[in-house]
């Protein structure tokens, strides 16, 4: 039996990266403040000391620069982990991460793989103001050629980052600053979580709730509230957006006949819109109500605490959505 320890999300990420760096000398970590400062959010604490400045590299404030440098290094067979302090800052590197990394293999007719991980904090909730609170998943998931993982807890953070590093494709790894201090059980022994395999966070029979990353905590909170009203929710953590494990979702919806999708990005052309569309395609005859989506409100993330909490896809909105689809409103 493998023993587990209770560790923080950030430590699980670091363990995952460090294990892969010990295992494979072609893996390195690059980004702003990842080395000397030990990471803007202390995710890379101790890594410079262990791996040295050749493999843990501080960069200038130059996102397009290190995003593109990583592509070149990956084309030569290295496996870069590129940290964006925030995914909000990846916007200035869009040409590299969207127009180059996911297309290089395709445009070279299979010649140049780009096994790269771009990772960092994504999503609002920390009063960082609207320019620093982007949820990029819906916008970026539209692009073919990349994968997107969005871990829920320390266990998944470690298992998914290790798989992402070993993957031969560009993987966008979306962490949440709000979750970095969350603690969870993580085994001592090595494990990997495949990309494209959803998991059921809570089993239930009345309504399927699908979400990814931090909003799953709102879903679990809502499920508890609804349970006390006799509504039994099944909460599915998609884990990865690309590839999307639609089969697990379909199986659940066929059982519950109701579906709510919770997505921290904006409603228009979103992940939840895609999941809803696929559920309608696959479960049309099983649904008792059309799928309802819960999003962040269609406004820039607010700076004020109360407004920001209100704009998020919070438990209040989720409860209302579930009551609607189960005709308990």
């Amino acid at each position: 039996m493998s023993t587990t320890r209770l560790i923080e999300f950030r430590d699980a990420l670091r363990e995952g990266m460090s294990e892969e760096m010990r295992r494979d000398p072609s893996v390195f970590l690059m980004g702003e403040e990842v080395a000397q400062y030990q990471g803007a959010y202390k995710v890379s604490r101790g890594m410079l000391q262990e791996f040295g400045p050749q493999r843990v590299i501080d960069t200038p404030i130059s996102e397009s620069g290190f995003a593109g440098l990583g592509i070149g290094a990956a084309m030569m067979g290295l496996r870069p982990i590129i940290e964006f302090m925030s995914w909000s800052f990846s916007l200035v590197a869009a040409d590299q991460i969207l127009n180059n990394a996911p297309k290089m293999l395709y445009m070279s007719g299979g010649q140049f793989k780009v096994p790269i991980v771009y990772r960092g904090n994504n999503g609002a909730g920390g009063q960082l103001g609207s320019t620093h609170s982007w949820s990029v998943e819906s916008m970026y998931a539209n692009v073919p050629g990349l994968k997107i993982a969005i871990p829920f807890d320390p266990y998944d953070a470690k298992g998914l980052i290790k798989t992402a590093i070993r993957d031969d494709n560009p993987v966008f790894f979306l962490e949440s600053e709000r979750l970095l201090s969350v603690k969870g059980d993580v085994p001592e022994a090595e494990y990997l979580i495949p990309l494209g395999q959803a998991t059921v966070r809570r089993t239930g029979s009345d309504c399927t709730i699908v979400s990814f990353g931090r909003p799953l905590y709102f879903c679990m909170e809502a499920a508890e509230t609804l349970a006390s009203d006799g509504i039994d929710c099944e909460v599915i953590d998609g884990r990865t957006i690309r590839p999307l494990d639609i089969e697990t979702i379909v199986r659940s919806v066929c059982k519950t006949n109701c579906c709510v999708v919770v997505d921290q990005s904006w409603p228009f052309a979103s992940i939840a819109a895609e999941v809803a569309a696929q559920v309608h395609e696959r479960c049309f005859d099983d649904l008792d109500h059309h799928v309802v989506r819960v999003h962040s409100d269609d406004v820039p993330p607010a700076y004020a605490y109360n407004l920001e909490q209100e704009m998020l896809p919070n438990a209040r909105k989720i409860c209302e959505a579930v009551r609607t689809v189960t005709y308990n409103a």
């Binding site: 440098l69 290094a73 030569m76 070279s108 007719g109 299979g110």
Partner: protein, 386 residues
Amino acid sequence: MPVRTVLSTNIEYISILDEHGAFDAKLGKDLISDEDVVKLYEHMIVCRRFDEIAFKLQRSGRMGTYPENRGQEAASLGAVYALRKDDWLVPCYRENPGLFWRGLPMEYILLHWMGDERGNQIPDGLYMTPQAIPIGTQMLHAVGLAWAGKYRGEDRIACTFFGDGATSEGDCHEALNFAANLDLPVVFVCQNNGWAISVPAKIQCSAPTIAQRGLAYGMECVQCDGNDIFAMVKVVRDAAELARRSHRPTFIEAVTYRLGDHTTADDARRYRDSAEVEMWKKRDPLIRLRKYLVDRNQWDNEKEQILQADAKEQVAAAVKRAEEIAAPSTTDMFDFLYAQLPDQLRIQRATLRTASLGQDPSQLEGGIEASRQQGIEETVSEPGLP
């Protein structure tokens, strides 16, 4: 506090074989063997012929778009000649002479501009990346390749090509900054051909030289006559040596001129003064190199005639090869997007129906598991031209 000068500098301009055929014997000594000068000249003639034919292919509807290289042959050719065969070439799209010299078969470039991705499947061992069509993005890839080479302890360097217009892009500046700050062996070759489509170079850069952009990032920089193959060989050889020896980058501004249009979709007569074009025609890199050879009794009309006929034949053969390659299969568009075909694409590849209808696995005989077990070898075409 007294005012003091914290930096004063100068930027050199290197010219060895000028437009009149005058040769600086001191600077040019032992730079290129006589035998190789002939080969380089012959290669430039073939490339000129390639340009003419590619242009005609486009005009007759046999090719989509084509950016002529005419007038700029010396720049990329001299650079590639000066490099080692395993140094990385990271080109944009006006470096055909250099790429062909390295060994890229001509039909690859034709195929690419005919709209076939397979033209970018660079054969193994050529150490070049696909032509980069976005502006300036490839410079960062060159920095990454150099970084990876240094990381692995290899002594190969990266040489990237870009135009004067690309030096206005943020990626250019980030690439220069990284290469200098991380001590990376990169040779940046800016082909300043005077025009970014219709935008003159003076709108890209108010400074007297583009070369000095390198200076701002703390690297060596030099300007040279980009139509002078000797000057190109010298500056790139010096830069490559510095890169290999000290992991220091160099910024080279090769001053040249785009004698043709930006691409076949452009008509430069609408915005360029014909007198300027006529002046640059006299500075054509081929004219001066031929004069150099004739002056040394290494070339004559007879050889020229034989070469022209041979060039015509070589290019015609390449066109034939390119046009004989069958159009890619429809399912090819799903291949090479990911290293392994994801399930949803696997199903859509099999059904060729719109995503909304074509991704339900119940449509697959034997289901998704059976399809997966067929293995990637069977469902994804192999890289390389047929």
